[in-house]
């Protein structure tokens, strides 16, 4: 193992207090001085619990059943409250996924960023402020001398994440623990924050434990990568070693899933050209938003005249960042949100704005799959009941239909008896798809259906959707912010920015020969699974 490690996990086992199920099994890892170790794993692999244990934090409901965690020799698991407090924020610091939740909404940013200095008495208040402002500047925050006087809600998400990085680096800790520090951000913001974070760590010579589900992101910052799967450490080696010579099947699968990006012309030859005939579903001049409507314009305009059409047997992808209005468009088409202007036609027939004005058959023919299968499935119903209700509602009496539906999404028939809580994330999303298919739709709207899943599972869901499109001749509207997913699935791509379509064309055209600047920026910001990609990508226009 490494000489004089800063942090060392020694045969750590963390389990649930009730039931005793282990969520981390016998983990041994170490981080050397100045080294960046990445932990990669799917959601539920226990990576956050492992990261927090480095700070001696075991969340309620969990317990350490074996082993220990040593930070510069101190056993963080058995340390006293006092000993922990003296190290946290000083020799080890934490950067969380959601900056918006991790900052106190009612305290100014400067005060929160410099708080570690205040509680540890590490430096005088003025010096701490000066140090914070210097960090703001090196992290690329605008107006570093003034911006810290703001409250958290007065800066953007990407900026807030940078404040958290500044807070983590304030006292020059030996180790920073970064838990998915860029996952909640849009791609164009992610690249900026990633760059800032890497600079911050390198300039200070800080060691880091970097937790992520995204191998391409990790490849940009890590010296070594450890792969976790369901609480087991399956592989740990240098970044080059992992990328070039993975030992484990799961790692290989992970790499394959990440290698879908960047796309090449060869990947896109199978794409169907946009249909010439009229679409199964067509949206024309959709204007929608919130607040009172005057002159066909809502007070807060989300969609500013969007048109598109989707033919059967085709996947049309809508890509855009948060605030682009892509989910609102899905809701308008589904009849969940009445537009202020514009029309929706289904096979040539104009639909009512609201779902309540549509016939039962029209509602049946358009089905929607939501992002989070956790909330889209009623947790109190069994899978059989969830599917059965749809069949009953639409008067579908074909025998064995539930088993058939489960088979269609590659789930065994006995899953009908299970509750959603007994399914994995990927299985839930399959049930969610089956629920939509139970209505025998013609149009399927998929709203970010892979964004809550990890890379490998997402790839299998993509294959399933592709298969269903061909088997059932569905018109699919696929909404996503993930370019690799879109590239794998879409026949046609629509790029949406702040409610306006900036580009709309066949997938190979948009992905390989983008016309609009925004599309180019978007495509250029998606991390590639290649060491040095971050350095090769010139800092583009500031985050939008």
């Amino acid at each position: 193992m490494t000489q004089n490690p800063v942090l060392e996990f020694d045969r750590l086992v963390i389990a649930q207090t009730s039931g005793g199920k282990s969520i981390l099994n016998d983990i041994s890892l170490s981080v050397a001085k100045g080294e960046v170790l990445a932990l990669i794993g799917e959601s539920g692999s226990g990576k956050t619990s492992l990261a927090l244990s480095a700070l001696g934090r075991i969340r309620p409901g969990l317990m350490v059943r074996h082993g220990n965690v040593r930070l510069a020799g101190l056993d963080m698991i058995r340390a006293t409250e006092q000993e922990l407090r003296h190290r946290r924020g000083k020799s080890i610091s934490y950067i969380a996924q959601s900056a918006a939740m991790s900052f106190n909404q009612r305290m100014r940013l400067d005060r929160q960023v410099t708080e570690p200095a205040a509680v540890h008495g590490a430096m005088p208040a003025m010096a701490a402020i000066k140090r914070a402002h210097a960090l703001y500047a090196s992290l690329g925050l605008p107006d570093p001398g003034q911006i810290g006087a703001r409250f958290p809600h007065e800066v953007s998400g990407g900026q807030l994440q940078r404040f958290m990085i500044a807070m983590g680096l304030l006292l020059d800790p030996d180790l920073v623990v970064c838990d998915e520090p860029t996952s909640a951000l849009d791609v164009t913001t992610q690249i900026e924050v990633l760059r800032a974070l890497k600079t911050g760590i390198r300039e200070n010579g800080t060691a880091a434990l970097f937790v992520s589900h995204d191998l391409a992101v990790v490849a940009q910052v890590a010296d070594r990568i450890a792969v976790l799967k369901r609480g087991d450490l399956i592989e740990c080696a240098s970044t080059t070693e992992i990328l070039e010579n993975p030992q484990h099947d799961y790692t290989r699968e992970l790499i394959r899933a990440c290698q879908r990006w960047p796309v090449t012309a060869r990947d896109l030859v199978a794409k169907k050209p946009p249909a010439a005939a009229e679409g199964a579903i067509e949206a024309r001049g959709i204007v929608a938003g919130y607040g009172s409507v005057t002159n066909n314009k809502p007070k807060i305009e989300i969609l500013k005249g969007v048109s598109l059409n989707v033919a059967r047997g085709r996947v049309v992808a809508i890509i855009g960042e948060s605030g682009s209005g892509k989910s609102t468009l899905a809701r308008v088409i589904a009849g969940l949100h009445a537009p202020a202007a514009g029309t929706i036609t289904l096979s040539g027939k104009t639909l009512a704005d609201r779902g309540s004005g549509r016939t039962r058959d029209e509602m049946r023919r358009i089905q929607m799959v939501f992002q989070s299968a956790d909330t889209a499935l009623n947790a109190k119903h069994s899978v059989g009941r969830i599917l059965g209700r749809v069949l009953d509602f639409f008067g579908d009496k074909s025998p064995g239909r539930i088993a058939e539906l489960l088979e269609m999404v590659n789930l065994p028939a006995e899953y009908a008896r299970r509750k959603p809580s007994q399914l994995s994330g990927g299985e839930k999303q399959r049930v969610n798809l089956a629920r939509a298919l139970a209505a025998r739709p013609e149009v399927l709207i998929c709203d970010e259906i892979t964004s809550a899943l990890d890379t490998v599972v997402a790839a299998s869901i993509i294959r399933l959707v592709e298969d269903l499109r061909d088997r059932l001749d569905l018109a699919i509207l696929f909404i996503s912010h993930d370019m690799a997913t879109v590239a794998a699935l879409a026949d046609q791509v629509v790029v949406l920015k702040q409610g306006v379509v900036v580009e709309n064309g066949a997938a190979p055209d948009v992905l390989l020969r983008p016309q609009a600047d925004y599309t180019r920026l978007l495509l250029g910001s998606v991390p590639e699974l290649r060491i040095g990609w971050l350095e090769d990508t010139a800092p583009g226009a500031p985050a939008l």
Binding site: R88, Y94, A96, S102, F103, M107
Partner: protein
């Protein structure tokens, strides 16, 4: 911010108007003829009719409502049917007593309760917290009349320290007044402290479960500072609301305690007026109670707003 306050104020006025409507309709549909009751069951139908005209009861209800409402707006609360004195005079004396009782209790109980609540949040899960939590839970679930009667039994009957009856005479020295007030105030302090402390602990422990509190802990902030700075500043709004509700209760809901100690407060006045069918007094008391509630909630909401930088600062997030 100013716009917010004006909106709040207008809403409060609207609620008050609705309260006046509810009070009037409520007293209107109560069975029992006021004139008949006032004159007793042996009154002749003629004299009842005369009194009805005198009281304006022969007018249509809508007209009487408007008359009453405009009277109130000009400070004219009407005349008591039983005592024939202006309602405003009766009220002002009782309001003084109620303010004395409610005010003293609030001043003692609020800081005490919030301190206890914060103290209990410091050691969540420890024995102090468990014991304290069960004690305040027990006290807040105990009927006021048990606390009141026990207080009387102990301090008035056994120990002779304080009078059992809180009679306030106009010319009494402040020592006598204080002695008379002691038992009712002590009872109410126990009741209200238990309530507020329990809510404080619930609000704080809810906040301590949020990511920002975990983040503070991972920065090395000691627990007492997480509670007293990070959590407390977020808790101002909900706490103000809890205190406002308890003060409203002290003004209008303490009829049991006023009864046990024969304390001449507003709540007692209203109960007596109900039994005597003295409608002008009932209506006036109900309006005062409604107004106190609405004003207290308005104050609490405004205080909450003042601590919310989302409302007090105008800059909004740029980009995205």
């Amino acid at each position: 911010m100013i716009g917010y306050l004006i909106k709040r104020l207008l809403l409060a006025v609207l609620v008050l108007w609705l309260v006046s409507l509810l009070v009037f309709v409520g007293t209107e549909i109560l069975p029992g003829d006021v004139a008949q009751l006032a004159l007793g069951q042996f009154a002749t139908p003629e004299s009842v009719a005369t009194l009805r005209t005198e009281l304006g009861l022969d007018q249509p209800a809508a007209l009487r409502y408007l008359d009453w409402l405009f009277g109130i707006l000009q400070g004219d609360w009407g005349q008591s049917i039983t005592t024939k004195t202006p309602v405003a005079d009766m009220l002002s004396q009782r309001i003084g007593n109620t303010v004395l009782l409610a005010g003293t209790t609030t001043l003692i109980a609020t800081p005490l309760a919030i301190c206890i609540g914060l103290l209990l949040s410091l050691g969540t899960g420890g024995w102090l917290d468990r014991l304290g939590s069960i004690t305040i839970l027990g006290l807040s679930a105990t009927p006021e009349f048990l606390i009141a009667t026990l207080a009387v039994l102990l301090f008035a009957v056994k120990l002779y320290w304080f009078p059992a009856v809180a009679y306030l005479s106009p010319g009494a020295s402040w020592q006598d007044t204080a002695r008379a007030l002691f038992l009712p105030v002590a009872t109410l302090v126990i009741v209200v402290t238990a309530q507020i402390a329990r809510m404080t602990r619930a609000i704080i422990s809810n906040l301590l479960g949020q990511p920002f509190a975990e983040m503070a802990m991972l920065k090395g902030v000691p627990r007492y500072k997480i509670v007293s700075q990070h959590a407390l500043i977020m808790a101002v709004g909900p706490l103000a609301n809890v205190v406002a509700l308890n003060v409203a209760y002290l003004v209008s809901g303490v009829v049991v305690v006023e009864t046990v100690f024969a304390y001449p407060g507003l709540a007692r006045l209203m109960v007596d007026a109900v039994q005597a069918r003295d409608m002008p007094v009932v209506q006036a008391c109900a309006m005062v109670f409604g107004a106190v509630y609405v004003i207290l909630i308005l104050l609490a909401d405004t205080l909450a707003d003042l601590f919310d930088p989302f409302l007090t600062t105008s800059r909004k997030a740029t980009g995205q």
